[in-house]
């Protein structure tokens, strides 16, 4: 894309996009590490995820401040305006994604049970991986202004929803058969729900990317097949 006549404007837009890329990378890492900590019962890694979330929150605040400055000082128009508005909305959503990863990490010490007794846990890493990839691709789509990639992210949300339904059924069945594990399984249910919400939020990011890239909003789509809406 051609440069602005006022170069400082380009610098600010670049800084904005850089901050969002960093924030997305951190959110993605938080999801990955939270799931790793869960699998390995690694409370140290879980505590790191919780601590790292502060940086995600800080970036959100920084982006908000920068967006207000850009709107006030540069009066962005057309695709610039859409980029800036999308950036503002995206950081709010990515911050929530970070919170979900943090919530998962916080549950790790509470699920300190011998993993072998808790078979349903085996589905969660794959589910987490899909959700993490959605976040990754949604942010990549923003960086590349790639509407097609954004649409692909949105379509993948049903995979996460299917995972959730499957985990839900598995956990309920498991709890009925192993009443002693109900406490741990309840935590795992929340973990699954958190991942499912991460997928929804990645979808929201992708919708904003689509708007920023094309100037059009996507028509309302079928909101997946989760059994339990919160």
């Amino acid at each position: 894309m051609a440069e602005h006549t006022i170069k400082a404007f380009d610098d600010e837009i670049d800084r904005l996009r850089g901050l969002i890329a960093e924030m997305g990378g951190r959110a993605e890492a938080a999801i990955e590490n939270a799931m790793l900590a869960l699998q390995r019962q690694d409370t140290g890694l879980a505590a790191e995820v919780v601590a790292e979330d502060k940086r995600i929150d800080a970036i959100e605040a920084e982006v908000e401040k920068l967006v207000v400055e850009i709107i006030a000082l540069r009066a962005p128009m057309a695709n610039d305006l859409r980029d800036v508005i999308a950036a503002l909305k995206i950081v709010g959503v990515v911050e929530r994604i970070g919170d979900y990863a943090k919530n998962i990490a916080k549950r790790v010490p509470l699920i300190a049970t011998n993993q072998r007794t808790l078979e349903p846990i085996s589905l969660l890493p794959s589910m987490g991986q899909v959700a993490g990839e959605m976040v990754h691709d949604a942010l990549n789509a923003f960086a590349a202004r790639d509407a097609d990639l954004a649409v692909a992210v949105i379509e993948r949300d049903t995979v996460v929803d299917d995972f959730y339904n499957s985990v839900f059924r598995t956990l309920v069945t498991f709890m009925v058969e192993n009443p002693k594990t109900i406490s741990e399984c309840a935590h795992l249910l929340f973990v699954a729900k958190n991942i499912e919400r991460i997928g929804d939020h990645a979808t929201n990011v992708a919708e904003m990317v689509y708007y920023a890239a094309t100037g059009h909003t996507l028509p309302d789509r079928d909101r997946g097949t989760t059994q339990l809406e919160d």
Partner: protein, 259 residues
């Protein structure tokens, strides 16, 4: 959000209009409709032809010896370049406000009264008084000048002079008001008053404004036309032009990437 008219009342149409200065083609086949219900803004970089095109709408280019206009421009369906058209009448129906306020070196009262008097719109002094007050009220100037109507128009501030010129245009009961950079010589407060005035006059007159200030176009208009190198590149709903222009050239210009 703007209020959309279902069927805009078309006031003027231009079809394949070309303007030549000598052999140079300054306007390269522009077609556009101007309606009563929306303020239309012409934007574009210097030399893009927006002012030249504006001037074709009331035949101001007639006064430029080397200028030649081709194509068709109509006012209420009537060809304004036809030999039957009375140009003086045309310019009363299609009034114009210029970049620099240019009041007559006469009293405030006379600035407004002059046009209606020569066009025979007033039968008596009392009629004229009514027209002067009504015009100054519509121009948003009455309260500021009602106690000093005999003072010279040139003694007013720049913003007041510009509103006086708008009042002068209104006084002859025009149907269309063309404004060529009406605020570029004014400070922000005077500019805001003119913009508010444009907003109030909308619907009563078809208004076309040429402006260098894109924010002004965004603020005052419901339709925006982007000109570049003599072409009408894009014409559409103002909010669309400023959030999602279709043409690359429009996008580059309004986002500050032009040139």
């Amino acid at each position: 959000m703007m209020t959309e008219q279902q069927t805009p009342r078309t006031k003027m149409t231009a079809r394949d209009v070309r303007v030549f200065y000598g052999s140079k083609e300054a306007i390269k086949g522009v077609s556009i409709d101007v309606d009563m219900d929306n303020v239309t803004a012409f934007i574009g970089p210097s030399g893009c032809g927006k002012s030249t095109f504006l001037r074709t709408l009331n035949r101001m280019n007639d006064t430029v010896a080397s200028a030649r206009v081709e194509g068709t421009i109509t006012l209420d369906g009537e060809d304004i370049y036809s030999p039957a058209m009375d140009v003086v009448q045309l310019r009363a129906r299609v009034g114009m406000v210029f970049q620099k306020p240019n009041p007559f070196p006469k009293s405030i009262y006379e600035n407004i009264a002059y046009g209606p008097r020569i066009h025979g719109l007033a039968g008596s002094k009392a009629d004229l008084d009514v027209i002067v007050e009504k015009s100054l009220r519509r121009a948003g100037l009455w309260d500021e000048v009602k106690d000093r109507l005999q003072d010279s128009g040139t003694a007013l501030s720049g913003g007041q002079q510009q509103r006086l010129c708008i009042g002068r245009a209104i006084a002859v009961e025009p149907e269309v008001i063309l404004m060529d950079e009406p605020c570029s010589a004014l400070d922000p407060i005077a500019t805001a008053k003119i913009e508010e005035l444009i907003h109030e006059l909308r619907g009563r007159y078809a208004i076309v404004i040429v402006t260098h200030n894109m924010q002004q176009a965004a603020r005052v208009s419901q339709r925006t036309a982007f000109f570049h190198l003599g072409d009408l590149v894009e014409y559409g709903v103002t909010s669309d032009i400023f959030t999602n222009p279709r043409q690359e050239r429009t996008k580059d210009y309004i986002t500050g990437r032009y040139g």
